[in-house]
């Protein structure tokens, strides 16, 4: 008998774009819906006609090889592309029932409902820990010291940083370690009382222990926030997320429950990517 080759036949799926769920969708259960989003830089599409729905109080991971458009897509969700020249965004992004891209709304007001944490921890260097956490509030006009103190304590507790800094909140933010700085950025994002949290590879610049803490934080935060996280670490996606979307060259190839996508992906491209055949 010849050695076995892993060449399955009679697979029960067909290689077609990820089908829409056949059960009718209850819109009210989705916190955020991105519909037919296309982002192009100077004529080149970085994200092509992507539709994704994010359930309330869930964690969704976006995976894919470098340059597939996952970070670009993430930044659409809080209109960060307004800052970029040459970026054209088409499509709708609904937060609850409001289209964030409609001309009628104030982007700045709604941006506060969607917090963002970046890849490299970026606490404001000239401010202390306390000032960093309150920066989103003070610079938006909140002056009451008692309220600021409360919010600082709450946010730092939620980010699992309170115990480490509570004795010296006036310490400069840049004196913290990398992992602490990233948790400080999470606390800063939480301080403005968002409903959705966007995270762009939040643990990629951190050591394994710090990464673990960030992942624990995400799982705790899930209870009260809807979280969308871009990650290139597939094990992290498996550990932390409920749903996963796989993007490749600007297209959404597959979207589904994390366990299903990683044990029995529908698309062959997804299977190839998660098993490390490319990317």
């Amino acid at each position: 008998m010849t050695a076995l080759t892993i060449k399955p036949i009679n697979m029960e799926y067909s290689p077609v774009a990820a089908p829409e769920r056949r059960t009718p969708i209850d819109i009210s259960k989705y916190k955020m819906i991105a519909e037919n989003v296309t982002v192009s830089y100077g004529g080149i599409d970085a994200v092509r006609n992507v539709t994704m729905k994010f359930k309330e109080n869930s964690v969704t991971a976006l995976i894919g090889p470098s340059g597939c458009g996952k970070t670009t897509f993430l930044r659409c969700l809080n209109r960060m592309h307004d800052m970029t020249k040459n970026a054209k965004v088409k499509g709708k992004v609904m937060l609850d029932d409001i289209d964030l891209y409609s001309k009628a709304i104030d982007p700045i007001y709604h941006r506060r409902k969607v917090g963002m944490v970046f890849q490299k921890p970026n606490p404001f260097p000239t401010m202390s820990v306390y000032d960093n956490v309150t920066s989103g509030l003070r610079l938006n006009g909140v002056k009451d010291k008692k309220i600021l103190d409360e919010i600082v304590e709450d946010s730092l507790k939620m980010a699992y940083l309170w115990d480490e800094v509570k004795n010296d909140l006036k310490k400069s933010a840049v004196e913290l370690s990398g992992g602490q700085q990233q948790r400080l950025c999470i606390a800063r994002a939480l301080a403005i009382q968002p409903e959705v949290l966007l995270m762009d590879e939040p643990a990629s610049a951190l050591d394994p222990i710090a990464t673990q803490k960030i992942e624990e934080t995400i799982i705790e935060l899930k209870k009260d926030y809807t979280i969308i996280i871009v990650t290139h670490n597939m094990q992290q996606a498996i550990r932390v997320s409920d749903y996963t979307g796989f993007m490749y060259l600007g297209d959404l190839v597959e979207f589904g429950e994390t366990k299903k996508l990683f044990t029995d992906p529908k698309e062959e491209l997804t299977a190839k990517y998660v098993q490390g055949h490319f990317g």
């Binding site: 960060m80 020249k85 700045i108 007001y109 941006r111 917090g115 000239t126 610079l139 938006n140």
Partner: protein, 308 residues
Amino acid sequence: MNPIQQRRQEYRSLFKQNVAKRLLVDKVVKIIVFSCVIIAIIPLGSILVEVFKNGLTAISIEFLTETPGSAGSGEGGIGPAIQGTLIIIGLSSIIGVPIGVMSGVFLSEYGDNALARFIRFFNDVFMEFPSIILGIFAFLIIVLVLGHFSVWAGAFALSLIMFPIVARTTEESLKMVPMTYREAGTALGLKKWVITFRIVISAAKSGMITGILLSVSRIGGETAPLIMTILGSSQFFSSMDTPMDALPLRIWRLSLLPYDSAQLQGWGAALVLIMIILGINLGVRYYFTNKKNGFFGQLIKQRRKITK
């Protein structure tokens, strides 16, 4: 020996073997570079030494506070000149620094268009303008129009020199602040001007201060524009519409007189001017680094703790 080791030996033999010679070359280059630096510093050092040597003897309380005596008498002092320099530097800064900083902010934060490119080019050209021409310009549009020399004209001319330098250095310092802080601010829902003024500028503070101090030192020593605008005088400051004295003007006048005593006073004035510029530099740096949690600030804090 196995093929890998053989190949290793082969390739290694290709490397230059004259290690001792190359270490020597290394040392020689180091010496040459070092001597170039020394050669460059010697003239500067000797100027400072000369000024100190010659000017120290002229310093006294009367020298620093009295008006000039009659030419060649060896009496009197440079009080008005010191006052005038401080006034003219202060006034020019009040005009030049805010305008310069605002232009720098515009060029850096809002400057990705044709207008900004034009302004930047013009700014760079302006920085190299001969100061005498700026003095003549101020003369034409203020002195001639008003009919007399005035402090306004002097401040105006000096601010014209100041403003391109401040704009340029502000723009460069702001550009050095990584984009990620602006993104963080945007993500927090802050308006652009809040991000620029409360976050970016405070991160770029040290660079901006360097630029401002550079321009202050520059205008402290400018003579030509002052000749055309404040003219100089032997009296203390009386009003904004009359001529005023300043150290560069006084030094110039004193050095042209044929008397030894006048020359001595000239050296003294030069020493005072250098001390003022140095003082402003160190003072501002001390104040700002003490406030911030910068390296020098920490050093100062530690020293304070020890001496307490």
